[in-house]
Symmetry: C3
Subunit: 155 residues, 3 copies
Protein backbone atom coordinates (compact mmCIF):
# COMPACT_ATOMS: atom_id res chain seq x y z
CA UNK A 1 0.00 0.00 0.00
CA UNK A 2 1.10 3.53 -0.74
CA UNK A 3 2.08 5.47 2.35
CA UNK A 4 0.53 8.82 1.65
CA UNK A 5 2.80 10.67 4.05
CA UNK A 6 5.43 10.13 1.34
CA UNK A 7 3.52 12.54 -0.84
CA UNK A 8 4.57 15.18 1.62
CA UNK A 9 8.23 14.22 1.21
CA UNK A 10 8.05 15.53 -2.35
CA UNK A 11 9.52 19.01 -2.07
CA UNK A 12 7.49 20.63 -4.85
CA UNK A 13 4.27 19.26 -3.36
CA UNK A 14 5.20 20.46 0.14
CA UNK A 15 5.99 23.91 -1.23
CA UNK A 16 2.66 24.01 -3.07
CA UNK A 17 0.86 22.92 0.10
CA UNK A 18 2.51 25.72 2.09
CA UNK A 19 1.88 28.52 -0.42
CA UNK A 20 -1.66 27.35 -1.18
CA UNK A 21 -2.48 27.31 2.54
CA UNK A 22 -1.07 30.82 2.98
CA UNK A 23 -2.97 32.31 0.04
CA UNK A 24 -6.21 30.59 1.11
CA UNK A 25 -5.79 31.90 4.67
CA UNK A 26 -5.30 35.38 3.19
CA UNK A 27 -8.53 34.94 1.22
CA UNK A 28 -10.36 33.83 4.37
CA UNK A 29 -9.22 37.04 6.05
CA UNK A 30 -11.45 38.95 3.59
CA UNK A 31 -14.53 37.53 5.35
CA UNK A 32 -13.28 39.02 8.62
CA UNK A 33 -12.57 42.35 6.92
CA UNK A 34 -16.12 42.42 5.51
CA UNK A 35 -17.61 41.60 8.93
CA UNK A 36 -15.42 44.26 10.54
CA UNK A 37 -16.59 47.02 8.17
CA UNK A 38 -20.22 45.87 8.40
CA UNK A 39 -20.18 46.04 12.19
CA UNK A 40 -18.17 49.25 12.64
CA UNK A 41 -20.12 51.10 9.92
CA UNK A 42 -23.46 49.45 10.75
CA UNK A 43 -24.10 48.43 7.15
CA UNK A 44 -26.12 45.25 6.73
CA UNK A 45 -27.88 43.34 4.03
CA UNK A 46 -29.97 40.87 6.08
CA UNK A 47 -32.73 42.19 8.40
CA UNK A 48 -31.84 39.57 11.04
CA UNK A 49 -28.26 40.90 11.23
CA UNK A 50 -29.24 44.33 12.53
CA UNK A 51 -32.15 43.22 14.75
CA UNK A 52 -29.94 43.98 17.77
CA UNK A 53 -29.60 47.65 16.75
CA UNK A 54 -33.26 48.58 17.07
CA UNK A 55 -36.83 47.49 16.47
CA UNK A 56 -38.83 47.66 13.24
CA UNK A 57 -38.28 50.79 11.15
CA UNK A 58 -35.41 51.81 13.37
CA UNK A 59 -33.40 48.76 12.33
CA UNK A 60 -34.25 49.07 8.64
CA UNK A 61 -32.07 52.16 8.23
CA UNK A 62 -29.02 49.88 8.59
CA UNK A 63 -30.01 47.88 5.50
CA UNK A 64 -27.88 49.85 3.08
CA UNK A 65 -24.77 49.60 0.96
CA UNK A 66 -21.43 51.22 1.72
CA UNK A 67 -18.48 51.91 -0.59
CA UNK A 68 -15.98 50.46 1.85
CA UNK A 69 -17.89 47.20 2.35
CA UNK A 70 -18.49 46.80 -1.40
CA UNK A 71 -14.78 47.35 -2.04
CA UNK A 72 -13.80 44.54 0.34
CA UNK A 73 -16.41 42.27 -1.25
CA UNK A 74 -15.05 42.98 -4.73
CA UNK A 75 -11.52 42.19 -3.54
CA UNK A 76 -12.84 38.93 -2.04
CA UNK A 77 -14.59 37.92 -5.26
CA UNK A 78 -11.49 38.77 -7.28
CA UNK A 79 -9.50 36.52 -4.94
CA UNK A 80 -11.95 33.66 -5.52
CA UNK A 81 -11.82 34.14 -9.30
CA UNK A 82 -8.03 33.96 -9.31
CA UNK A 83 -7.17 31.61 -6.46
CA UNK A 84 -9.48 28.81 -7.69
CA UNK A 85 -7.54 28.46 -10.99
CA UNK A 86 -4.23 28.68 -9.07
CA UNK A 87 -5.33 25.86 -6.73
CA UNK A 88 -6.52 23.57 -9.52
CA UNK A 89 -3.74 24.21 -12.01
CA UNK A 90 -1.07 24.54 -9.30
CA UNK A 91 -1.96 21.18 -7.75
CA UNK A 92 -1.78 19.37 -11.09
CA UNK A 93 1.39 21.28 -12.04
CA UNK A 94 3.03 20.26 -8.73
CA UNK A 95 2.28 16.61 -9.48
CA UNK A 96 3.66 16.84 -13.03
CA UNK A 97 7.25 16.83 -11.81
CA UNK A 98 8.43 20.42 -12.43
CA UNK A 99 11.85 21.75 -11.46
CA UNK A 100 11.79 22.70 -7.74
CA UNK A 101 13.23 26.20 -8.06
CA UNK A 102 10.97 27.05 -11.04
CA UNK A 103 7.92 25.82 -9.14
CA UNK A 104 8.79 27.79 -6.01
CA UNK A 105 9.34 30.92 -8.11
CA UNK A 106 5.81 30.50 -9.53
CA UNK A 107 4.25 29.98 -6.08
CA UNK A 108 6.09 32.93 -4.49
CA UNK A 109 5.21 35.30 -7.31
CA UNK A 110 1.54 34.30 -7.17
CA UNK A 111 1.21 34.61 -3.40
CA UNK A 112 3.14 37.90 -3.34
CA UNK A 113 1.04 39.30 -6.20
CA UNK A 114 -2.26 38.36 -4.51
CA UNK A 115 -1.20 39.90 -1.17
CA UNK A 116 -0.15 43.07 -3.01
CA UNK A 117 -3.44 43.01 -4.94
CA UNK A 118 -5.38 43.05 -1.67
CA UNK A 119 -3.29 45.92 -0.28
CA UNK A 120 -3.72 47.87 -3.55
CA UNK A 121 -7.50 47.24 -3.55
CA UNK A 122 -8.18 48.07 0.08
CA UNK A 123 -5.91 51.11 0.52
CA UNK A 124 -6.71 51.94 -2.42
CA UNK A 125 -3.47 52.60 -4.26
CA UNK A 126 -3.64 54.44 -7.61
CA UNK A 127 -3.66 52.33 -10.74
CA UNK A 128 -1.78 50.53 -12.25
CA UNK A 129 -0.79 49.02 -8.86
CA UNK A 130 -3.81 46.73 -8.66
CA UNK A 131 -3.81 45.91 -12.39
CA UNK A 132 -0.13 44.95 -12.22
CA UNK A 133 -0.68 42.70 -9.20
CA UNK A 134 -3.62 41.09 -10.99
CA UNK A 135 -1.65 40.40 -14.18
CA UNK A 136 1.36 38.94 -12.35
CA UNK A 137 -0.89 36.40 -10.60
CA UNK A 138 -2.74 35.75 -13.85
CA UNK A 139 0.48 35.24 -15.81
CA UNK A 140 1.89 32.84 -13.21
CA UNK A 141 -1.24 30.65 -13.43
CA UNK A 142 -1.19 30.70 -17.24
CA UNK A 143 2.50 29.79 -17.22
CA UNK A 144 1.77 26.71 -15.07
CA UNK A 145 -1.20 25.79 -17.30
CA UNK A 146 1.01 26.07 -20.40
CA UNK A 147 3.71 23.87 -18.84
CA UNK A 148 1.11 21.29 -17.83
CA UNK A 149 -0.66 21.13 -21.19
CA UNK A 150 2.63 21.09 -23.10
CA UNK A 151 4.04 18.13 -21.21
CA UNK A 152 0.96 16.14 -20.20
CA UNK A 153 -1.86 16.82 -22.64
CA UNK A 154 -4.19 13.83 -22.81
CA UNK A 155 -7.57 14.47 -24.39
CA UNK B 1 4.10 2.16 -11.01
CA UNK B 2 1.86 3.56 -8.30
CA UNK B 3 -1.61 2.05 -8.30
CA UNK B 4 -3.75 5.07 -7.65
CA UNK B 5 -6.65 3.08 -6.35
CA UNK B 6 -4.45 2.61 -3.25
CA UNK B 7 -4.89 6.29 -2.51
CA UNK B 8 -8.48 5.43 -1.79
CA UNK B 9 -7.42 2.76 0.71
CA UNK B 10 -6.11 5.53 2.94
CA UNK B 11 -8.90 6.08 5.45
CA UNK B 12 -8.34 9.81 6.03
CA UNK B 13 -8.34 10.43 2.30
CA UNK B 14 -11.51 8.38 1.78
CA UNK B 15 -13.22 10.29 4.59
CA UNK B 16 -12.15 13.60 3.05
CA UNK B 17 -13.43 12.46 -0.35
CA UNK B 18 -16.83 11.57 1.15
CA UNK B 19 -17.32 14.75 3.17
CA UNK B 20 -16.00 16.99 0.38
CA UNK B 21 -18.41 15.39 -2.10
CA UNK B 22 -21.32 15.88 0.30
CA UNK B 23 -20.58 19.53 1.01
CA UNK B 24 -20.04 20.26 -2.71
CA UNK B 25 -23.34 18.57 -3.56
CA UNK B 26 -25.01 20.74 -0.92
CA UNK B 27 -23.45 23.81 -2.55
CA UNK B 28 -24.69 22.70 -5.98
CA UNK B 29 -28.20 22.50 -4.52
CA UNK B 30 -28.08 26.31 -4.11
CA UNK B 31 -28.22 26.68 -7.92
CA UNK B 32 -31.45 24.69 -7.95
CA UNK B 33 -32.85 26.78 -5.08
CA UNK B 34 -32.05 29.98 -7.01
CA UNK B 35 -33.69 28.63 -10.18
CA UNK B 36 -36.73 27.51 -8.14
CA UNK B 37 -37.29 30.97 -6.63
CA UNK B 38 -36.62 32.73 -9.97
CA UNK B 39 -39.24 30.59 -11.73
CA UNK B 40 -41.93 30.53 -9.02
CA UNK B 41 -41.58 34.27 -8.30
CA UNK B 42 -40.92 35.25 -11.93
CA UNK B 43 -37.82 37.25 -11.08
CA UNK B 44 -35.19 37.32 -13.80
CA UNK B 45 -32.00 39.11 -14.62
CA UNK B 46 -31.52 38.16 -18.30
CA UNK B 47 -34.06 39.30 -20.92
CA UNK B 48 -33.79 35.94 -22.74
CA UNK B 49 -34.86 34.10 -19.56
CA UNK B 50 -38.34 35.64 -19.41
CA UNK B 51 -38.99 35.78 -23.16
CA UNK B 52 -41.51 32.95 -22.68
CA UNK B 53 -43.60 35.08 -20.29
CA UNK B 54 -44.56 37.74 -22.78
CA UNK B 55 -43.37 39.99 -25.60
CA UNK B 56 -41.44 43.25 -25.42
CA UNK B 57 -42.44 45.55 -22.56
CA UNK B 58 -44.66 42.85 -21.09
CA UNK B 59 -41.62 40.64 -20.44
CA UNK B 60 -39.48 43.48 -19.09
CA UNK B 61 -41.50 43.72 -15.90
CA UNK B 62 -39.96 40.39 -14.81
CA UNK B 63 -36.44 41.87 -14.91
CA UNK B 64 -36.33 42.78 -11.23
CA UNK B 65 -34.68 41.80 -7.98
CA UNK B 66 -36.35 39.92 -5.16
CA UNK B 67 -35.31 39.59 -1.51
CA UNK B 68 -35.74 35.84 -1.49
CA UNK B 69 -33.64 35.27 -4.62
CA UNK B 70 -30.91 37.62 -3.40
CA UNK B 71 -30.83 35.78 -0.06
CA UNK B 72 -30.24 32.42 -1.78
CA UNK B 73 -27.53 33.97 -3.94
CA UNK B 74 -25.76 35.41 -0.88
CA UNK B 75 -25.90 32.00 0.80
CA UNK B 76 -24.43 30.47 -2.37
CA UNK B 77 -21.59 32.99 -2.54
CA UNK B 78 -20.85 32.49 1.16
CA UNK B 79 -20.64 28.76 0.47
CA UNK B 80 -18.14 29.35 -2.34
CA UNK B 81 -16.03 31.65 -0.16
CA UNK B 82 -15.83 29.05 2.60
CA UNK B 83 -15.90 25.71 0.77
CA UNK B 84 -13.01 26.62 -1.58
CA UNK B 85 -10.55 27.06 1.35
CA UNK B 86 -11.91 23.87 2.95
CA UNK B 87 -11.32 21.91 -0.27
CA UNK B 88 -7.79 23.19 -0.81
CA UNK B 89 -6.60 23.10 2.79
CA UNK B 90 -8.56 19.91 3.60
CA UNK B 91 -7.05 18.01 0.67
CA UNK B 92 -3.50 18.94 1.65
CA UNK B 93 -4.24 18.29 5.33
CA UNK B 94 -5.61 14.82 4.46
CA UNK B 95 -2.37 14.01 2.65
CA UNK B 96 -0.20 15.23 5.54
CA UNK B 97 -0.94 12.12 7.61
CA UNK B 98 -3.21 13.42 10.39
CA UNK B 99 -4.78 11.23 13.06
CA UNK B 100 -7.94 9.57 11.61
CA UNK B 101 -10.36 10.48 14.40
CA UNK B 102 -9.09 14.09 14.56
CA UNK B 103 -9.45 14.44 10.80
CA UNK B 104 -12.98 13.01 10.77
CA UNK B 105 -13.98 15.35 13.61
CA UNK B 106 -12.78 18.30 11.49
CA UNK B 107 -14.68 17.12 8.40
CA UNK B 108 -17.91 16.40 10.29
CA UNK B 109 -17.88 19.72 12.09
CA UNK B 110 -17.29 21.60 8.84
CA UNK B 111 -19.99 19.82 6.85
CA UNK B 112 -22.48 20.07 9.73
CA UNK B 113 -21.73 23.77 10.21
CA UNK B 114 -22.18 24.55 6.50
CA UNK B 115 -25.50 22.68 6.32
CA UNK B 116 -26.68 24.53 9.42
CA UNK B 117 -25.44 27.81 7.90
CA UNK B 118 -27.64 27.24 4.86
CA UNK B 119 -30.68 26.43 7.01
CA UNK B 120 -30.04 29.51 9.17
CA UNK B 121 -29.62 31.72 6.08
CA UNK B 122 -32.65 30.51 4.14
CA UNK B 123 -35.19 30.19 6.98
CA UNK B 124 -33.91 32.81 8.20
CA UNK B 125 -33.13 32.02 11.83
CA UNK B 126 -32.35 34.93 14.18
CA UNK B 127 -28.70 35.73 14.79
CA UNK B 128 -26.33 34.47 16.13
CA UNK B 129 -27.37 31.15 14.50
CA UNK B 130 -25.83 31.97 11.14
CA UNK B 131 -22.78 33.71 12.62
CA UNK B 132 -22.10 30.70 14.85
CA UNK B 133 -22.37 28.26 11.93
CA UNK B 134 -20.03 30.48 9.91
CA UNK B 135 -17.40 30.67 12.65
CA UNK B 136 -17.42 26.91 13.33
CA UNK B 137 -16.69 26.19 9.66
CA UNK B 138 -14.12 28.99 9.60
CA UNK B 139 -12.39 27.73 12.74
CA UNK B 140 -12.23 24.15 11.42
CA UNK B 141 -10.50 25.32 8.23
CA UNK B 142 -8.03 27.49 10.17
CA UNK B 143 -7.30 24.58 12.51
CA UNK B 144 -6.38 22.37 9.53
CA UNK B 145 -4.29 25.19 8.02
CA UNK B 146 -2.43 25.62 11.32
CA UNK B 147 -1.73 21.88 11.58
CA UNK B 148 -0.50 21.81 7.99
CA UNK B 149 1.80 24.84 8.26
CA UNK B 150 3.14 23.72 11.65
CA UNK B 151 4.16 20.26 10.44
CA UNK B 152 4.95 20.80 6.76
CA UNK B 153 5.97 24.41 6.19
CA UNK B 154 8.30 24.64 3.19
CA UNK B 155 8.78 28.13 1.75
CA UNK C 1 9.57 6.85 -1.68
CA UNK C 2 6.70 7.41 -4.06
CA UNK C 3 7.80 8.98 -7.31
CA UNK C 4 5.04 11.47 -7.89
CA UNK C 5 5.65 11.71 -11.59
CA UNK C 6 4.03 8.25 -11.69
CA UNK C 7 0.74 9.88 -10.75
CA UNK C 8 0.87 11.44 -14.18
CA UNK C 9 1.27 8.01 -15.79
CA UNK C 10 -2.26 7.21 -14.68
CA UNK C 11 -4.34 7.89 -17.78
CA UNK C 12 -7.54 8.95 -15.99
CA UNK C 13 -5.60 11.40 -13.86
CA UNK C 14 -3.75 12.81 -16.89
CA UNK C 15 -7.06 13.25 -18.70
CA UNK C 16 -8.56 15.00 -15.67
CA UNK C 17 -5.50 17.27 -15.43
CA UNK C 18 -5.85 18.24 -19.11
CA UNK C 19 -9.59 18.94 -19.06
CA UNK C 20 -9.45 20.73 -15.70
CA UNK C 21 -6.65 22.98 -16.98
CA UNK C 22 -8.64 23.78 -20.14
CA UNK C 23 -11.86 24.63 -18.30
CA UNK C 24 -9.98 26.74 -15.73
CA UNK C 25 -8.20 28.63 -18.51
CA UNK C 26 -11.60 29.26 -20.10
CA UNK C 27 -12.83 30.62 -16.77
CA UNK C 28 -9.78 32.88 -16.49
CA UNK C 29 -10.64 34.29 -19.91
CA UNK C 30 -13.79 35.79 -18.33
CA UNK C 31 -11.60 38.24 -16.38
CA UNK C 32 -10.12 39.46 -19.66
CA UNK C 33 -13.60 39.74 -21.19
CA UNK C 34 -14.76 41.84 -18.21
CA UNK C 35 -11.70 44.11 -18.45
CA UNK C 36 -12.23 44.44 -22.23
CA UNK C 37 -15.85 45.59 -21.86
CA UNK C 38 -14.99 47.89 -18.94
CA UNK C 39 -12.27 49.63 -20.95
CA UNK C 40 -14.04 49.85 -24.32
CA UNK C 41 -17.34 50.98 -22.77
CA UNK C 42 -15.70 53.10 -20.05
CA UNK C 43 -17.71 51.49 -17.27
CA UNK C 44 -15.95 51.32 -13.92
CA UNK C 45 -16.72 50.54 -10.34
CA UNK C 46 -13.59 51.85 -8.58
CA UNK C 47 -12.79 55.60 -8.67
CA UNK C 48 -9.06 54.87 -9.06
CA UNK C 49 -9.74 52.88 -12.26
CA UNK C 50 -11.07 55.83 -14.23
CA UNK C 51 -8.75 58.49 -12.79
CA UNK C 52 -6.96 58.54 -16.14
CA UNK C 53 -10.15 59.58 -17.97
CA UNK C 54 -10.60 62.92 -16.27
CA UNK C 55 -10.40 64.84 -13.00
CA UNK C 56 -12.97 64.99 -10.22
CA UNK C 57 -16.59 65.14 -11.33
CA UNK C 58 -15.54 64.45 -14.91
CA UNK C 59 -14.24 61.00 -13.95
CA UNK C 60 -17.23 60.14 -11.75
CA UNK C 61 -19.53 59.78 -14.72
CA UNK C 62 -17.70 56.55 -15.61
CA UNK C 63 -18.70 54.98 -12.28
CA UNK C 64 -21.78 53.23 -13.60
CA UNK C 65 -23.12 49.80 -14.45
CA UNK C 66 -23.57 48.38 -17.92
CA UNK C 67 -25.69 45.44 -19.09
CA UNK C 68 -22.86 43.94 -21.10
CA UNK C 69 -20.34 44.06 -18.24
CA UNK C 70 -22.88 42.66 -15.75
CA UNK C 71 -23.66 39.82 -18.17
CA UNK C 72 -19.98 38.80 -18.38
CA UNK C 73 -19.71 38.99 -14.60
CA UNK C 74 -22.76 36.73 -14.15
CA UNK C 75 -21.27 34.22 -16.61
CA UNK C 76 -18.01 34.34 -14.63
CA UNK C 77 -19.76 33.75 -11.29
CA UNK C 78 -21.79 30.89 -12.80
CA UNK C 79 -18.50 29.36 -13.97
CA UNK C 80 -17.07 29.60 -10.45
CA UNK C 81 -20.19 28.04 -8.92
CA UNK C 82 -20.02 25.08 -11.30
CA UNK C 83 -16.31 24.58 -11.94
CA UNK C 84 -15.41 24.44 -8.21
CA UNK C 85 -17.60 21.34 -7.64
CA UNK C 86 -16.26 19.80 -10.86
CA UNK C 87 -12.67 20.32 -9.70
CA UNK C 88 -13.23 18.87 -6.23
CA UNK C 89 -15.47 15.98 -7.17
CA UNK C 90 -13.62 15.31 -10.44
CA UNK C 91 -10.24 15.07 -8.71
CA UNK C 92 -11.53 12.58 -6.14
CA UNK C 93 -13.45 10.67 -8.82
CA UNK C 94 -10.28 10.42 -10.94
CA UNK C 95 -8.42 8.90 -8.00
CA UNK C 96 -11.19 6.39 -7.27
CA UNK C 97 -10.20 4.21 -10.24
CA UNK C 98 -13.03 4.75 -12.73
CA UNK C 99 -13.11 3.23 -16.21
CA UNK C 100 -10.99 5.38 -18.56
CA UNK C 101 -13.54 5.83 -21.35
CA UNK C 102 -16.36 6.60 -18.88
CA UNK C 103 -14.18 9.17 -17.12
CA UNK C 104 -13.14 10.85 -20.38
CA UNK C 105 -16.79 11.00 -21.48
CA UNK C 106 -17.62 12.84 -18.23
CA UNK C 107 -14.74 15.30 -18.63
CA UNK C 108 -15.48 16.02 -22.31
CA UNK C 109 -19.19 16.57 -21.70
CA UNK C 110 -18.48 18.93 -18.81
CA UNK C 111 -15.88 21.02 -20.63
CA UNK C 112 -17.99 21.14 -23.80
CA UNK C 113 -21.10 22.14 -21.83
CA UNK C 114 -19.28 24.93 -19.97
CA UNK C 115 -17.79 26.35 -23.19
CA UNK C 116 -21.25 26.25 -24.79
CA UNK C 117 -22.72 27.87 -21.65
CA UNK C 118 -20.34 30.81 -22.03
CA UNK C 119 -21.18 31.20 -25.73
CA UNK C 120 -24.92 31.01 -24.95
CA UNK C 121 -24.57 33.56 -22.13
CA UNK C 122 -22.43 36.10 -23.96
CA UNK C 123 -24.09 36.02 -27.41
CA UNK C 124 -26.86 35.73 -25.88
CA UNK C 125 -28.60 32.75 -27.45
CA UNK C 126 -32.34 32.27 -26.74
CA UNK C 127 -33.28 29.88 -23.95
CA UNK C 128 -33.15 26.93 -23.42
CA UNK C 129 -29.59 26.96 -24.86
CA UNK C 130 -27.98 28.26 -21.70
CA UNK C 131 -30.22 26.21 -19.38
CA UNK C 132 -29.38 23.03 -21.30
CA UNK C 133 -25.63 23.71 -21.16
CA UNK C 134 -25.96 24.38 -17.42
CA UNK C 135 -27.83 21.13 -16.72
CA UNK C 136 -25.44 18.98 -18.76
CA UNK C 137 -22.48 20.24 -16.72
CA UNK C 138 -24.51 19.90 -13.52
CA UNK C 139 -25.56 16.33 -14.36
CA UNK C 140 -22.00 15.29 -15.17
CA UNK C 141 -20.77 16.51 -11.79
CA UNK C 142 -23.64 14.80 -9.94
CA UNK C 143 -22.95 11.58 -11.86
CA UNK C 144 -19.31 11.62 -10.68
CA UNK C 145 -20.43 12.44 -7.10
CA UNK C 146 -22.88 9.52 -7.17
CA UNK C 147 -20.20 7.11 -8.45
CA UNK C 148 -17.77 8.30 -5.78
CA UNK C 149 -20.20 8.07 -2.85
CA UNK C 150 -21.55 4.71 -4.01
CA UNK C 151 -18.14 3.07 -4.19
CA UNK C 152 -16.12 4.91 -1.56
CA UNK C 153 -18.43 6.30 1.12
CA UNK C 154 -16.59 6.56 4.43
CA UNK C 155 -18.28 8.75 7.05
Amino acid sequence: MVNLSHLMENEVFMAFASYATIVLSKMMFMSIATAFYRLTRKVFVNPEDCAGFGKGENAKKYLRTDDRVERVRRAHLNDLENIVPFLGIGLLYSLSGPDLSTAILHFRLFVGARIYHTIAYLTPLPQPNRALAFFIGYGVTLSMAYRLLKSKLYL
